[in-house]
């Protein structure tokens, strides 16, 4: 099955689905494994938000950088960080992406242009200004993408970064992943300027709002923004209106959500279901293609967990290595 008028090739569509499915299954498995008590630290799950990370990251290469949030697993996977290394990292093992010392909230892979998850709200935005400035200075065509949630969008460091990126005309994209809750505080209560497009306009940047559960909407808008930045067109802001299936963190009782809200979201706003419907409507992939990817991803997840559980912890003499930088 093929359609010459569809903007993504069959391989690209399969890659997009594989990425989204891998994120989903990674997070669903972390949800299960965290409950056993074997994973140290905190985890914040990206399940339900996969279309945003995937639709954006499909346009990035190894020369491009991203700075993530506390909810960073999806960004890592979409940017190409090794899934088995991520599982090992979450288990605190020496084979992990950061040799077991970063954990969920500080996972990073600079070789892949993933500058790190971050426990400080909005802290990725100034880092992205730095990466974008470096690319602009070196003229290497690189673009840097910052992710923040609707809560962090109120933080001073994020707003200062918008200003800096505009003033320096940086190849930077600011993505606001608006999942409607800052931890447990509704966006309706906590955000005075409700439209992130308005907020971008306040700094002289173009802003676009898309349905963040629609991979194709995100992919097209992000593609235009990233291509624009790569050509010297400067920064812009993308608001992805989206949902999360789990709580702010694993263990969150979610008393702030309406009864049945999550069930309704899973039933009607699942980005993976929507992707499957869209490719079927356009006649560009068969269900059998997606089923094949599902089996491949399931095997990867099982292997990743099994290998992580068997991997060694860092030795005592490695406790202080990789943690502090010596200048």
């Amino acid at each position: 099955m093929s359609n010459d008028n569809f903007p993504l090739s069959r391989d690209e569509l399969l890659r997009a689905y594989r990425t989204m499915k891998t994120i989903r299954e990674f997070e669903e498995r972390v949800h299960v494994e965290f409950a056993t008590g074997d994973l140290p630290g905190f985890v914040h799950l990206y399940a339900g938000e996969e279309a945003a990370a995937t639709g954006i990251m499909m346009h990035l290469g190894p020369n491009d950088h991203i700075a993530s949030t506390h909810r960073g697993h999806g960004h890592c996977i979409a940017k190409g960080v090794d899934v088995k290394g991520m599982f090992a990292e979450l288990y605190g093992r020496a084979t992990g992406t950061c040799r077991g010392k970063g954990g969920s909230m500080h996972i990073a892979d600079l070789d892949m242009g993933m500058m790190g998850a971050n426990g400080i709200l909005g802290a990725g935005a100034p880092l992205v200004c730095g990466a974008a400035l470096a690319s602009k200075y070196k003229k290497d065509g690189g673009v840097a993408v910052s992710f923040v949630g609707d809560g962090a969008s109120n933080a001073g460091n994020f707003l200062e970064s918008l200003n800096l990126a505009a003033v320096w005309d940086l190849p930077a994209i600011f993505v606001v992943e608006n999942n409607a809750y800052a931890q447990s505080t509704s966006r309706d209560y906590a955000v005075a300027v409700d439209s992130y497009v308005d907020r971008a306009a306040g700094f002289g940047l173009p802003g676009v709002t898309v349905d963040g559960t629609d991979f194709f909407a995100v992919h097209e808008a992000a593609g235009e923004m990233i291509a624009r930045a790569r050509k010297g067109g400067g920064p812009s802001l993308l608001e992805c209106s989206m949902i999360r299936f789990y709580g702010h963190f694993e263990g969150d009782a979610q008393t702030y959500r309406a009864a049945g809200e999550v069930e309704e979201l899973r039933a009607n706003r699942d980005c993976l279901t929507r992707f499957a419907q869209q490719v079927a409507q356009a006649g560009v992939l068969e269900q059998a293609d997606l089923d094949s990817v599902d089996r491949e991803v399931a095997a990867l997840i099982d292997e990743g967990v099994a290998e992580a559980q068997q991997a060694p912890h860092p030795s005592e003499d490695q406790v202080l290595t990789d943690v502090y930088v010596s200048y």
Binding site: V197, A201, F216, A217, R228, Q281
Partner: protein, 343 residues
């Protein structure tokens, strides 16, 4: 509820689409949308309208409005209509507009003020029945709603809804395009458009807004306005057709490199693109064009909406007298002639 009530539907996400980066299109801040409603309410209050019934939304317009109304109360500014909200769900999708419009009609509302672009007006027109629309443009291309200060629209609505201007003067009928697709792998589906229907070879919905002209193959318009932005302008640059004329226009397109006639048309704000024209003809009211499009999409009022699958046949019908809108200019001229706004 008793007495006159005016419906208000304001789309919080109109004018936030991809054309902000592809065409430098403008956006109207949410705070300004709320202020526009305040100005409409002030005008309605001056005409003696006691209440408005609004669509609930989660984009911030209602919250801004609530803060502003509280501020007005503290400042001692009275005379604004009471604000009520329809008991309809908020999903952040076009379904909110459908549900709120139906609720307003069920509540006996005769006139609905709509703040949005062509898409918002299309959603209201699909459900408003005998209720009429007073449009205020806050969208991107906006061929359908007129650009006018909301205060004046509010005065016209107030005068019309309170019966001081006869309906024969105040209201105008509008054309509509009905699209039905079926016979192929995608099943039967149908929809409407207020301004334009286009066939494009671009085969995905993506970010919805139509902004690449090279994929266009055919356009149907209810009116062809050379002063507009978008596909109505493409048709209008060939042969202008007014909103009140009975017919529409059908335009066959082809890639500019192959066309004898190539327009330079403003298909989006700031985006003047070459559009190759093969031919065009008028579209008679009630006439149904039956066609078998190549695979791609059918776009409605500038947004990619309906997939065309192999074997599909599309029927496009120009419907006369499909719904009514308020003729603000006619109302205000009548008000001047009859001294309706003179103490």
């Amino acid at each position: 509820m008793t007495g006159v009530t005016v419906g208000v539907i304001a789309n919080p996400v109109a004018a936030t689409d991809i054309r902000r980066v592809t065409a430098n299109a403008a956006s109207m801040p949410v705070a300004d949308r709320a202020n526009a409603i305040l100005r409409v309410m002030a005008a309605l209050g001056a005409c003696g309208v006691p209440r408005v019934l609004m669509m609930p939304e989660n984009g911030g317009i209602g919250r801004h409005l609530a803060r502003s109304l509280e501020r007005e109360r503290k400042l001692g500014r009275t005379g604004l209509p009471a604000r009520h909200v329809t008991a309809t769900p908020v999903t952040g999708t076009v379904d909110d507009t459908f549900a709120a419009t139906r609720a307003m009609v069920a509540a006996g509302v005769s006139g609905i003020v709509v703040l949005g672009g062509d898409g918002t007006h299309r959603a209201v027109a699909a459900c408003c029945g005998e209720a009429w629309i007073a449009g205020i443009s806050t969208g991107t291309n906006n061929a359908f709603p007129e650009h006018r200060e909301p205060t004046v629209t509010g005065l016209a609505v107030g005068l019309a809804v309170t019966g001081r201007v006869p309906a024969a003067t105040a209201l105008q009928p509008n054309k509509m395009l009905q699209v039905t697709i079926g016979g192929g792998q995608g099943g039967r589906r149908s929809d409407i458009a207020l301004v334009d229907v286009s066939l494009t070879t671009e085969a995905y919905v993506g970010a919805r807004a139509l902004w690449r002209s090279g994929h266009l193959r055919e356009i149907f318009v209810t009116f062809a306005d050379p002063e507009a932005i978008g596909l109505s302008a493409v048709a209008g640059l060939l042969r202008p057709v007014g909103r009140r004329e009975p017919h529409g226009l059908r335009v066959w397109l082809q890639p500019p490199a192959e066309a004898d006639t190539v327009l330079r048309a403003p298909i989006a704000p700031g985006l003047i693109e070459p559009v190759g024209v093969r031919r065009y003809e008028t579209l008679a009211p009630g006439h149904t064009a039956s066609l078998r499009p190549e695979s791609g999409m059918i776009s409605l009022d500038g947004e990619r909406e309906l997939y065309v699958r192999p074997g599909d046949r599309a029927e496009i019908t120009l419907l006369p007298n499909a719904f009514r809108t308020l003729d603000v200019g006619a109302v205000m001229r009548y008000a001047a002639r009859h001294r309706l706004l003179t103490r």
